[in-house]
Amino acid sequence: MTVIQFVILGAALFSFGVYGLLVRRNLVLVLLSVELMLAAVNINLVAFESMLATSELLGQVFTVFVITVAAAEVGIGLAIILMIFRNRQSANADELTLMRW
């Protein structure tokens, strides 16, 4: 096993995330795409850590941070989406243009 396979996996996962973010209209799916990108980053971090093997385990530590922040972000994000849906009976990103010029 070399690190390249993990990096490819991470890149693929990240690209799916980007694709989902750009083409999905449903905000819940957009949020899921963001999670996908974060997972890709986590895979990269762990992979590089196993290759470099730093004594402080920096990759793993960062991964834990990312997971924590991602959990918080999803909590808030879902709450916002919930409130939007309650107010507008829709979670469609294209319809949320209230702040436009």
């Binding site: 750009l22 990103a93 949320l96 243009t97 010029w101």
Partner: protein, 632 residues
């Protein structure tokens, strides 16, 4: 006692200032005479402190002291410090003493004015400012007082600001004074550039070593410009006649006795600088002589009781300038003092007459008032004789000393002596004309005027000033040079001009000037004791000269065409061709630019979250590509 008074000398300024502040906040709520009484008490106490503090100088063993109150900017000599020497002591006593009498008079004169309290705020503030000016120990503080008295003058001329003429006169006085202040500021910059300090102590002792003749002349001429503004000399005298729009006590205090003498004080105080420049000296004396003659001729043909006195003040100030220009500093200060007495008396008397005639100021509508108001008539008569130079009244001694000094200096000053004599004759003429028109002859007032003597609050100051007018001259006579010895320490380092020595010369000088005065006096008395038709005919006989005099040579019209209108045009041009397109244009242009950019850039904000995300990734990819290409 005296040491204590010198330690407490700051009270001289603080008392009127505190009076002004106190009355400012509560004055309007006090019952009417209270505000006036408090203000008078403040300045009266100030006079007493000054009197005790000046005691060593009277005894002849006083030393000039500098009292440092607060070190503000020691590096340039601009501190809050008082210089207590015979000159500032004398000025302090004149300002507070005459000021006190005028304050008391004003209590009666301003009776019934709805802004009674406010009037005394301004009057007290003026006293504090004037005392700051004369007690200053450096030019910076003098300048502070100089500007403050200008401000108070403005406030008091425009005291009845609902009258257009009063508001305009106040504005005129302020603007004309700014021209003089310009000279003052440039002069102070020159002084600072030469000496590195503004403190008197650091300037007068070293003036001889530091200044070249050229610089001394420049400073002296700029000081003269400043003094011409404040003391109403040619060419800046035009504001003083208009200043008569103010209440009469203001005219007496500010525009006769104290503020307008600030220019004379400035020249006398800066004697060490003028010492180095004969050119500046002769210019001061010539301006003074020209002003004296010019204003005296205008005064002859005025019908407004206050306008006569205004032009007379300008003329007498010219006398003082002649004296200080000829380095006869003691004579100049002496005349300043006696003039403060008799001119304040004349103005207060005029105020009393105006009060009695229900605000009538035209002397053609007066006449025969002596029996109705004997106290005013007699005291004004004394002042008239004094200013005409009749011995042994105050004006005779001081005027004679000035003329004698001019004669003794000789040369060009001899010509000025002749001008002075001519002016003396004219002064006697117009003052007698005024007194006779007001108090003598047949009554010419209308049916509904009921002239009456003023209340005691107003006549008592008149009597006090009349007493001073009678005895004031004896402080410096050829028999006893008291004032001369008193002021000697101040002018120790400079050469001073004295009247010619010897009794024969004195008798000759006095004889000539008294003769000139009596000629004017007799001419006016003979002309104006007759009925109005006769002297009106006499005046018409002097046309067209009389018309020129009556219209004050139309100098106001001349200034209007040559200075005021071009000035307004220039201001308009600056406002509408420079300020509007260039300054405002630049500011508005910045705003327009930001808005224009915003208009174009705002289309990027589609509100579509996916667009933003796409741009974000595009940016990230561009960054990665750039890093890969540059290899950083």
């Amino acid at each position: 006692m005296t040491d204590l008074a010198i330690d407490l000398l700051w009270l001289v300024i603080l008392l009127p200032l505190a009076g002004a502040l106190f009355l400012h906040f509560v004055g309007q709520r006090l019952p009417e005479p209270m505000a006036g009484l408090l203000a008078s008490a403040a300045i009266g106490l100030s006079f007493l402190v000054g009197l005790v503090g000046a005691f060593p100088f009277f005894q002849g063993d006083g030393e000039a002291t500098t009292i440092l109150l607060w070190s503000w900017m020691p590096a340039i000599g601009a501190n809050l410090e008082l210089l207590w020497d015979p000159l500032s002591a004398l000025m302090t006593l004149i300002v507070t003493g005459v000021g006190f009498l005028i304050h008391v008079f004003a209590i009666g004169y301003m009776h019934g004015d709805e802004r009674f309290g406010r009037f005394f705020v301004n009057l007290n503030l003026f006293a504090a400012s004037m005392l700051t000016l004369v007690l200053a120990g450096n030019y910076a503080m003098l300048f502070l007082g100089w500007e403050l008295v200008g401000l108070c003058s403005y406030l008091l001329i425009g005291f009845w600001f609902t009258r257009d003429s009063a508001a305009g006169a106040a504005k005129k006085a302020f603007v004309v004074n700014r021209i003089g202040d310009f000279g003052m500021m440039v002069a102070l910059m020159l002084v600072f550039a030469a000496f590195g300090t503004l403190s008197y102590a650091g300037i007068f002792d070293r003036a001889g070593e530091v200044l070249t003749t050229g610089v001394a002349t420049a400073i002296g001429l700029l000081f003269l410009l400043a003094a011409a503004g404040k003391s109403a000399q040619i060419p800046l005298y035009v504001w003083l006649p208009d200043a008569m729009e103010g209440p009469t006590p203001v005219s007496a205090l500010i525009h006769a006795a104290t503020m307008v003498t600030a220019g004379v004080y400035l020249v006398a105080r800066s004697a060490a600088i003028f010492e180095l420049s004969p050119t500046a000296q002769v210019t001061v004396a010539t301006i003074g002589a020209a002003t004296a003659l010019w204003a005296a001729s205008i005064a002859i043909a005025q019908y407004d009781i206050k306008k006569v006195l205004a032009y007379s003040t300008i003329s007498q100030l010219g006398y003082m300038f002649m004296a200080v220009g000829a380095t006869a500093y003691v004579a100049g200060i002496f005349h300043l003092m006696t003039h403060a007495f008799f001119k304040a008396l004349l103005f207060l008397g005029a105020g009393s007459v105006i009060h009695a005639m229900s605000d009538e100021q035209d002397m053609r509508k007066m006449g025969g008032l002596l029996s109705k108001m004997p106290v005013t008539g007699v005291t004004m008569g004394i002042a008239t004789l004094a200013i005409a130079g009749v011995p042994p009244l105050a004006g005779f001694w001081s005027k004679d000393e000035i003329l004698g000094s001019l004669f003794a200096r000789g040369g060009w000053y001899g010509v000025l002596w002749v001008v002075g004599l001519l002016t003396a004759a004219m002064t006697a003429f117009y003052m007698t004309r005024q007194w006779v028109m007001v108090f003598w002859g047949e009554p010419r007032w209308s049916e509904d005027a009921h002239p009456h003597e003023s209340p005691g609050m107003m006549t008592l100051p008149l009597i006090a000033l009349a007493a001073l007018t009678v005895v004031g001259g004896f402080v410096n006579t050829p028999f006893r040079f008291t004032l001369e010895h008193f002021l000697e320490p101040v002018f120790e380092g400079v050469s001073m001009q004295h009247p010619p020595e010897g009794w024969g010369m004195f008798a000759l000088m006095a004889g000539i000037s008294v003769f000139a005065g009596l000629v004017g006096l007799a001419a006016a008395g003979l002309a104006y004791r007759r009925p109005m038709e006769d002297w009106a005919e006499f005046e018409q006989g002097l046309q067209p000269v009389w018309g020129w005099w009556e219209q004050a040579y139309r100098v106001d019209d001349f200034y209007n065409v040559t200075v005021v209108q071009p000035g307004k045009k220039a201001a308009e041009a600056a406002a509408f061709s420079v300020d509007l397109p260039v300054i405002d244009g630049a500011v508005n242009g910045v705003g327009r630019l930001a808005r224009g950019i915003g208009e174009r850039v705002r289309v990027l904000q589609t509100g579509q979250v996916r667009n933003y995300a796409a741009l974000l990734f595009a940016g990230a990819i561009a960054l990665v590509v750039w890093l890969a290409v540059t290899g950083a």
